[in-house]
């Protein structure tokens, strides 16, 4: 099977441009890049599915049909792109509402963990053992006893 040079060039440029945008910090640019990559990959589906042909509808024409399977896959992908991009736009709007910009900032929690690592500390949720409290059902009695050794008075 021969490769369609024009379509492959389109795929390469669209994916390349999309990746460049996705590596930005502005959420709008990231979303634009995301849609570019999505469109580029949908074209990729056409490239690898074989040569152009008649629409895969029975009884429409006698010519050989284009492969319907990648078309069904790409159709799903197109609509999913719509849903996720709209969600991303809502995120961008919300980010703008909260911070006045739609830039994706570095995660603060990660920074906190990094500082803990530098100070050789345990995580914030680590349960340091202290022997002041003993397990007890706390139901019937309030026996809060220390299991100290029995020493003669």
């Amino acid at each position: 099977m021969t490769a369609n040079l024009m379509l492959i060039a389109v795929v390469g440029v669209m994916v390349g441009a999309g990746v460049t945008l996705v590596l930005e910090r502005s959420l709008t640019r990231i979303l634009v890049g995301f849609v570019l990559i999505g469109n580029g990959l949908n074209v990729l589906f056409l490239v690898v599915s074989g040569p152009a042909g008649a629409a895969p509808i029975l009884g429409l024409s006698g010519d050989p049909m284009a492969d319907p399977l990648p078309q069904a896959m790409a159709l799903t992908a197109i609509v999913i792109t719509l849903g996720t991009t709209a969600f991303g736009l809502a995120l961008a709007y919300r980010a703008w509402q909260l911070t006045g910009t739609d830039d994706v900032q570095d995660d603060l929690e990660d920074d906190l963990i990094r500082r803990r690592a530098e100070r050789d500390e345990v995580s914030a949720t680590f349960d340091e053992v202290d022997d002041t409290e003993l397990p007890d059902e706390g139901y019937a009695g309030d026996a809060t006893l220390a299991p100290e050794d029995e020493v003669p008075a």
Partner: protein
């Protein structure tokens, strides 16, 4: 047997309802399940102990050879009776242990009943995987029971320790069980034991791993520390899980494998050695406790060590004694825990320094305690005595039976020392709970139903009866032990052997134990001194150090790898894509056969798209980037047309249009320019990574196209699409029939995305809480084209008229497109998008009131309805005798109109249509109307500074 186990879980699931109806009396109903199991098991157990086991086999997942096998044999039957009998009594006891209207028992009762079922399943399992599943079920359920009162930090930690330690052991055991399965070529335990695999390193390693699981579950050194912490559970749970049930699982497993695998290298040294060490350590710790429940917990650790040592010794008489001891321990230890529960509830303390005068106040309970504790100490005429005598007799002959007199003697001395400690802490328990103590105010216990104290009484009576019924029990227990080669003597349970060494050892144990108890103060001082001066290794500290180390490692790894920067993460992923598959690409590279294009349209469109894509990257204005993006999107749809994909082209155009407007709706709020970034090295890195990724993907495309040799799977779709799918448009049939599961998944994604959008704008997590109710508005001006009340300067009368004229036509067309999509381009996606665009036009022309007029429903209702319609239409064919999501073709003759050719997948497409309309509506309501409302709010706030702005 499957039925019995399943019944436990079914009834456990209904316990919340039972508790609501009957409150704590629900426990009496729940107790019927283990009680009925006990009665049902009596027959099979009687047969099994006469040498006739019962098997049950249910095929579960034949594709991977996973079946459910159960067996009642001489060992599992007896343990199952113990588990169900004690389980029923403990559940009955709970009726009075818990206070009326306790808000937690609806959950507790279900978990405890489920636990009883899991324990029964574990014991009856005759398949390594079934055994493992129930094993881990008991782990998880015991975690919930130990953590019953999660308010105390120590309780949470105790529950977590139990979970981690026993799961660690469980996972090791799973590997061992898989090894056994592979070595013997069958997962059935009875088959493995009947025809054991030849000894070798693989079997030794498997058995070692299984033993790790057994030892961790039975709280042997070095895993013993989780068990005393488990007293965070309510006392009935301690009585059941940590005396009669869960911890016995390890002992049971050792007993099950011992007849065949006791000669595995390392088996006896590990089990007997660790068992005796645990027995002595637990006994010493028990002597130091003030809390009588904790005293019993350490006593359990000690007894488990004893049990494992005896059961693991692997001679006929030891196996006999081991099974008898297991039963005796279950009876007396659960009775003693339940006594502690009664005292705790009626006096309000378990501290033996505060308990005084109870012997006179509770004579019945005192008798129960004396009987059970005497059985624990091994005093005649109780079950504990006869069983321990048998154990001593077995260990006296152990050296001879195994041919290692020295080791046999060492084991015998160890168990006698352990027994001395047992007598001492038994005495300490009775003294601590019931003695009159000088200078301590006598306790005045509250009155309870006589049944409350009666349950431990029944268990104590069983200890007595079983002690007297030795000759009756001997042949039953011997059936299990007969699997071992004959030893020096024939074991039996009897009150009088004659003046044998075993009897003298019993006398030594009792006398020395009483002496130890009498001299407890100097002994305690000595213990204290030793514990203080010698830096003894502490398993619990070691465990905590490991846990701390794991946490530190996690912090270090996270700190080094998680930089929290999105571009860095994405960059790493993309560079990996370029380097790893890219290097494979370079190696697989052959000069490809190329053609320039299929037709001139591809060339023209492709060049425009390439230009637009590059300009998109360079644009600094948001709107410009989005418009250029639109150019590439429309270009893509032209490429689809040129390729012969009309469905794709149609959908692409509609999606692109909708997306463009959605972008603009949000961009109106964002700054017009992207934030200014210096033209620096980071930008060149981005462009570099982008170029490299683009080249790599293009390279993949070349190689993939040229590498293709097989006929496409869809080559044979045309005929079935029409005959089975009932449609001529193969792409549509693929979506609603051939790949319908995929479409269902996609619909779910759309519903989730739409819900996410609404939540981000309205900041409500619950749609039912949304305050904005959708209402129709009626225009004041009856001559208006639309009911809109936009500001006059934003209105366009031409747009309003056109909207008014075309809206309904477009909606009708969208429905037509959806229905006709099965045979010509169209379908649910395209139809739904067109309806969405119609709604968008209404919104753009008339604002959010107009949108509400056009669609006076909540978007969530439309989304949910769509998903429901799609799911139901997927189920519909099953009623007509087909599979899920299969299309059924129905031809109905309608008078006058003619024949109606109905394919059920059209309902699926209706669901798709509705979900897409719902998504569109949600986008418009949120990013359109929602942002409108927030802008108006801010405008109003700007005029009136006292008003709160909603953000």
């Amino acid at each position: 047997m499957v039925f019995l186990v399943a019944l436990h879980f079914l009834v456990a699931a209904t316990s919340p309802v039972l508790v609501r109806m009957l409150d704590r009396r629900a426990f009496l109903v729940l107790a019927l399940v283990p009680a009925a199991s006990f009665v049902w098991l009596l027959g099979p157990v009687a047969r099994a102990t006469e040498g006739d086991p019962t098997y049950e086999h249910v095929t579960w997942i034949p594709q991977i050879g996973l079946d459910v096998d159960f067996a009642v044999n001489a060992l599992s039957g007896i343990v199952a009776l113990l588990v169900t009998g004690v389980g029923a009594l403990v559940l009955i006891y709970c009726t009075w242990y818990f206070r009326p209207n306790d808000p937690e028992i609806w959950r507790f009762s279900g978990v405890l009943t489920g636990f009883a079922g899991a324990m029964l399943g574990l014991v009856l399992a005759d398949n390594v995987y079934v055994l493992y599943v129930f094993w881990e079920l008991t782990t998880v359920l015991s975690f919930l029971l130990i953590g019953h009162n999660p308010e105390r930090r120590a309780n949470r930690r105790a529950a977590l320790n139990a979970l981690i330690v026993t799961t660690f052991g469980g996972l090791a055991m799973l590997v061992g069980l898989v090894g056994l399965h592979l070595a013997s070529d069958t997962p059935r335990l009875s088959a493995i034991l009947a025809d054991p695999p030849a000894a070798g390193p693989a079997v030794t390693a498997s058995i070692a791993l299984v033993l790790v699981g057994a030892l961790s579950k039975s709280a042997l050194l070095p895993f013993h520390f989780w068990l005393p912490g488990a007293m965070a559970a309510p006392t009935p749970v301690s009585a059941y899980l940590h005396a009669a049930a869960m911890v016995k699982a390890g002992v049971y497993l050792v007993a099950l494998l011992a007849p065949v695998f006791a000669d595995t290298p390392g088996w006896r040294p590990v089990l007997v050695g660790l068992g005796i060490a645990t027995m002595i350590l637990g006994g010493l710790r028990a002597l130091r406790q003030y809390d009588v429940k904790l005293l019993l917990a350490y006593g359990t650790v000690s007894q488990l060590g004893f049990l494992v040592a005896v059961v693991g010794a692997g001679t006929r008489s030891a196996a006999f004694a081991g099974l008898a001891l297991l039963c005796a321990h279950g009876l007396f230890k659960s009775a003693l825990f339940l006594v502690v529960g009664v005292i705790d509830r009626s006096v309000g303390t378990r501290d033996l320094r505060e308990l005084s005068g109870l012997r006179a106040a509770r004579p019945g309970l005192f008798v129960t305690t004396v009987v059970a504790a005497a059985s624990m100490a091994g005093l005649p005429v109780l079950f504990g005595f006869t069983a321990k005598e048998a154990a001593f007799a077995a260990f006296v002959d152990l050296g001879h039976d195994l041919g290692h007199p020295g080791w046999g003697l060492a084991a015998l001395v160890g168990t006698v020392v352990g027994s001395i400690l047992t007598v001492a802490y038994s005495a300490r328990f009775v003294w601590g709970t019931f003695a009159d103590k000088k200078g301590v105010e006598p306790c005045t216990p509250r009155d309870f139903s006589p049944w409350f104290a009666g349950v431990p009484g029944i268990l104590a009576a069983c200890s007595l009866a079983a002690g007297l019924a030795g000759p009756l029990l001997t042949p039953r227990i011997a059936t299990y032990a007969d699997q071992f080669p004959e030893g020096s003597h024939e074991a039996l349970l009897t009150l009088w052997h004659g003046f044998t060494p075993a009897l003298w050892l019993s006398v030594v144990a009792v006398v020395a134990g009483v002496a130890l108890y009498a001299g407890r103060h100097p002994v305690a001082a000595a213990q204290h001194a030793v514990a203080d001066r010698l830096p003894l290794p502490d398993a619990e500290r070691a465990y905590q150090a490991v846990m701390r180390g794991v946490d530190r490692l996690a912090v270090e790894v996270t700190g080094r790898t998680q930089r929290g920067s999105l571009p860095v993460y994405l960059g790493i992923i993309l560079v990996t894509l370029v380097l790893v598959p890219g290097s494979a690409l370079v190696r697989a590279w052959q000069t490809p056969d190329v053609r320039i294009a299929d037709n001139p349209l591809q060339v023209v469109t492709g060049l425009i798209m390439i230009a637009a894509a590059i300009l998109t990257v360079r644009s600094r204005r948001r709107l410009r980037a989005v418009l250029l993006l639109g150019v590439t999107g429309y270009g893509t749809s032209i490429l689809f047309v040129a390729h012969g994909a009309p469905d794709l082209a149609l959908t692409q155009v509609l999606v692109e249009t909708f997306l463009l407007v959605t972008f603009v709706l949000v961009l109106r709020r964002l700054p017009p320019f992207f934030s200014d970034r210096p033209f620096n090295i980071a930008r060149w890195v981005r462009v570099g990574v982008g170029t490299a990724t683009g080249l790599a993907v293009a390279g993949f495309a070349f190689v993939a196209t040229n590498a293709r040799t097989a006929t496409p799977i869809s080559a044979g779709w045309a005929k079935p699409a029409y005959e089975y799918g009932g449609g001529k448009n193969i792409v549509n049939v693929a979506l609603v029939d051939i790949r319908a599961w995929d479409t269902i998944g996609e619909l779910s994604v759309l519903v989730v995305a739409a819900t996410g959008i609404a939540s981000l704008i309205f900041l409500l997590t619950d749609r039912s809480m949304r305050q904005v109710r959708v209402r129709r508005v009626v225009s004041e001006d009856s001559n208006a084209w639309l009911a809109a009340n936009l500001h006059d300067q934003r209105r366009s009368i031409v747009f309003e008229i056109i909207t008014r004229l075309i809206f309904h036509t477009v909606v009708v067309f969208s429905i037509f497109l959806m229905i006709s999509g099965h045979n010509s381009p169209g379908g649910g996606f395209a139809g739904g998008l067109i309806a969405g665009l119609a709604l968008m036009i209404r919104y753009l022309a008339g604002g959010r009131e107009e949108l509400d007029n056009a669609a006076p429903v909540d978007a969530g209702v439309v989304l949910g309805l769509g998903l429901a319609v799609a799911a139901l239409s997927g189920l519909l064919p099953t009623l007509l005798g087909g599979g899920v999501l299969q299309s059924a073709i129905i031809d109905i003759a309608i008078p006058v109109l003619g024949e109606l050719h109905l394919v059920t997948s059209v309902f699926f497409d209706i669901g798709v249509y509705l979900v897409v309309v719902g998504l569109a509506l949600d986008v418009l309501r949120s990013l359109g109307s929602g942002i409108d409302a927030q802008m108006e709010d801010e405008d109003a706030a700007a005029e009136d500074p006292n008003r709160e702005v909603m953000t």
